[in-house]
Homo-oligomer: 417 residues x 2
């Protein structure tokens, strides 16, 4: 099944917003076994919309459009579709009643714009939109499907998940597909590829491994594609078998599955072990603490942190020795070790993360170049340290160190408790 | 001048990456007075590339493509263009020498892939790419321009800024345009529109105001478009005059201009006034400190922060009274006032930001619902407080409070020092 995605909106063509809808839709369609062969953004002009939908209906089996619907826009998409399909518009009383109820509950007035919003092209199958007032619209023409959705991301996502993907699978009797995603940290794409080559080389033709790299991590997606004779249980068994083989090789480099995040996984381990965490940050400036706090419920295992940006704060609040700073400097193994000890004490924590480094782009010396980072994890009983030499991009360094420190904490907790 | 942007790459069609290149290019072209009428993403397949470039050459004056170039890809774009224009490929010795020097310096081996990379379509004008090994390619066909660039964002940006935009302006003798952007915080789009309506209503036909809203802020872009008789100095004078009028109305709501950020602006004020900042964060968990530290050189005015996530840390490290917490709770005006006082003392700071709230999505009570946030700014001599009632989206709340607190600090510093 070939799919075209058409985004309607001048705001994308002038660069005011980035089109993130299309990437999300492409991922979902791909996971459901449908191939996206083109993504287009067109203007709010009637002719542009008509020309592009028409061209896509020739080249694809399924055309999905977003945008150009709703009370504040002038509903240009509906007009374009009606003209293109040669159908009239009708007043949808059911939709008008729904919108009236919706606004009356909230105490908003009903205006003429809402009446216009209820003019719909004939032959449309209405897709209920519980997230807003503009419904999705489903059309069939010859052997093609044309679906129009609002451009608001959470409305589009609701319609895709609850209505359109199930209907498409139903209509095209899509074959079963099964995916699992392993999240790894600490190894690059080529390193992983080499280590598991003997497993992927033995994949049957209907299985695939995708490498999805990101800063400091690589996600591995294992997929099995069925045909008309496949049952999902078989595909699941195939995928699970290969996942187990990969797990045996990659071991602790796998930090989670599917939609896990490193801060979520670390939080779960701390919670299970009944441990309290503290952070002592210099160059990351609170970014590690902020990442931990992104998880709702983190107060159960996170006491707090000290952002020790000045040496003075390192000495006074984390008890780093003045002699240590003079002899080894703020960016040193000795300093991060003392930061760990001071942090567990100051925050009554069982375990601490400490980071000190030169985030850049300036501030390096011959001895200590930009990108030099020291990380320590532990407590006064047992502390492990790590040295990194990164590049000169300040924000990238901070982000990388944040992820790396959280992963090192994970490994420390798995090995030490 | 009508422009089409074509992004070539399967990784976008499967949703693996979001196409941010196109939005950036669209912004630049728009600022230069060129109209982007379509953005397309097509697969790495030869026929797809040919068909789409061909269609765009019919509909637009300028077609810009990114992706499908370079040593690891199979250079499919070059093949497509050569076939489309009916030209042969030739071996570009100059390019090969350049690549050889580049790799030898870095001690990398030269492979056959690099020889293939130097096969170029005839009639091409080579655009030197100082950020990588694949040059940009400029073609002219009938009255249209076709330009191909690598997809790596910093290579594309280099080629656009240094080569393509100047060449396009030169070629099409674009009329002068002048823009200025004002960054505002604290007012919504409609509030601003009403307040400055009398100014925008009096704009001449060749001037435009664009509202560019973002979480917690609205950017205002004032533009003047010239014709064949305009000089840039005149346009600048027109824009500057209107900017001055808007400044008089919006006053302190304007926090900066062009590419400023609130953390950058606040940093400059602290630096000028010779003041040291400290942060005391509960619900934002270090995010405010992390934002301040994004600015290189922030150590000159930022001492550090305390992330007081538990009540224990609030009491022990920020000297918040146990009685205060019992009587008013952690999310209260009394608590954030004491956090400010404790923070300035603990971190030897002249001024502090303190935040405590219920970030959500759970944890609210009838008395203190999710989204209730208290912010305090100041020091023991003078503290101002602000109460916010936000929604239930945890990450959005944290981001909004971070920006809001930094803007409140800016206003405090402007009024109090």
């Amino acid at each position: 099944m070939k799919v075209h995605i058409i985004t309607i909106g001048d705001e994308i063509l002038i660069g005011q917003i980035v089109d993130t809808n299309s990437a999300w839709m492409a991922t979902q369609l791909n996971l459901a076994g449908m191939e996206v062969t083109a993504i287009k953004t067109v203007s709010d002009k009637l002719d542009d919309i008509k020309t592009n939908i028409n061209a896509s209906l020739r080249d694809a089996d399924i055309v999905l459009t977003t945008g150009g619907l709703g009370a504040t826009k002038d509903d240009i998409t509906k007009k374009a579709i009606a003209e293109l399909l040669g159908v009239d518009m009708y007043f949808d009383q059911e939709l008008y009643d729904m919108i009236t109820t919706f606004f009356q509950k909230r105490g908003f007035p009903i205006t003429d714009a809402h009446r216009i919003q209820c003019m719909m092209p004939e032959t449309m199958v209405k897709l209920t939109n519980k997230m807003g007032t503009a419904p999705g619209m489903w059309f069939e023409k010859d052997n093609s499907i044309l679906v129009s959705m609002p451009g608001v991301p959470y409305e589009m996502k609701y319609l895709m998940e609850k209505q359109i993907l199930p209907k498409l699978k139903d209509k095209f009797g899509a074959y079963p597909i099964y995916h699992r995603t392993l999240l790894t940290a600490g190894f690059g794409e080529t390193q992983i590829a080499e280590r598991i080559e003997h497993i992927t080389d033995a994949f049957p033709d209907n299985m695939k491994l995708a490498f999805l790299p990101n800063l400091g991590e690589v996600r591995l997606r294992v997929s099995a594609y069925g045909d008309e004779n496949s049952r999902e249980a078989e595909l699941k068994q195939m995928v699970d078998g290969k996942v187990t083989e990969i797990e045996q090789i990659m071991d602790n480099a796998i930090y989670g599955y599917e939609k896990d995040s490193i801060q979520n996984v670390v939080g779960q381990i701390l919670l299970e072990k009944g441990l309290k965490l503290g952070t002592a940050e210099s160059c990351t400036g609170g970014n590690i603490a902020a990442r931990i706090v992104q998880i709702s419920g983190s107060s159960a295992y996170f006491n707090g942190g000290i952002v020790a940006y000045s040496n003075d704060v390192k000495m006074k609040r984390l008890n780093v020795g003045e002699g240590t700073l003079q002899m080894y400097g703020a960016v040193s193994e000795a300093t991060v070790r003392e930061m760990v000890a001071g942090c567990t004490k100051a925050l009554d924590a069982d375990v601490a993360i400490a980071v000190s480094g030169i985030a850049g782009p300036t501030g390096g010396t011959a001895d200590k170049p930009v990108g030099l980072i020291w990380i320590a994890i532990g407590n006064p009983e047992k502390t492990v340290t790590h040295k990194l030499q990164l590049g000169k991009d300040r924000l990238k360094n901070i982000e990388y160190v944040t992820k790396r420190a959280l992963n090192l904490l994970r490994l420390y907790l798995l090995e030490s408790y």
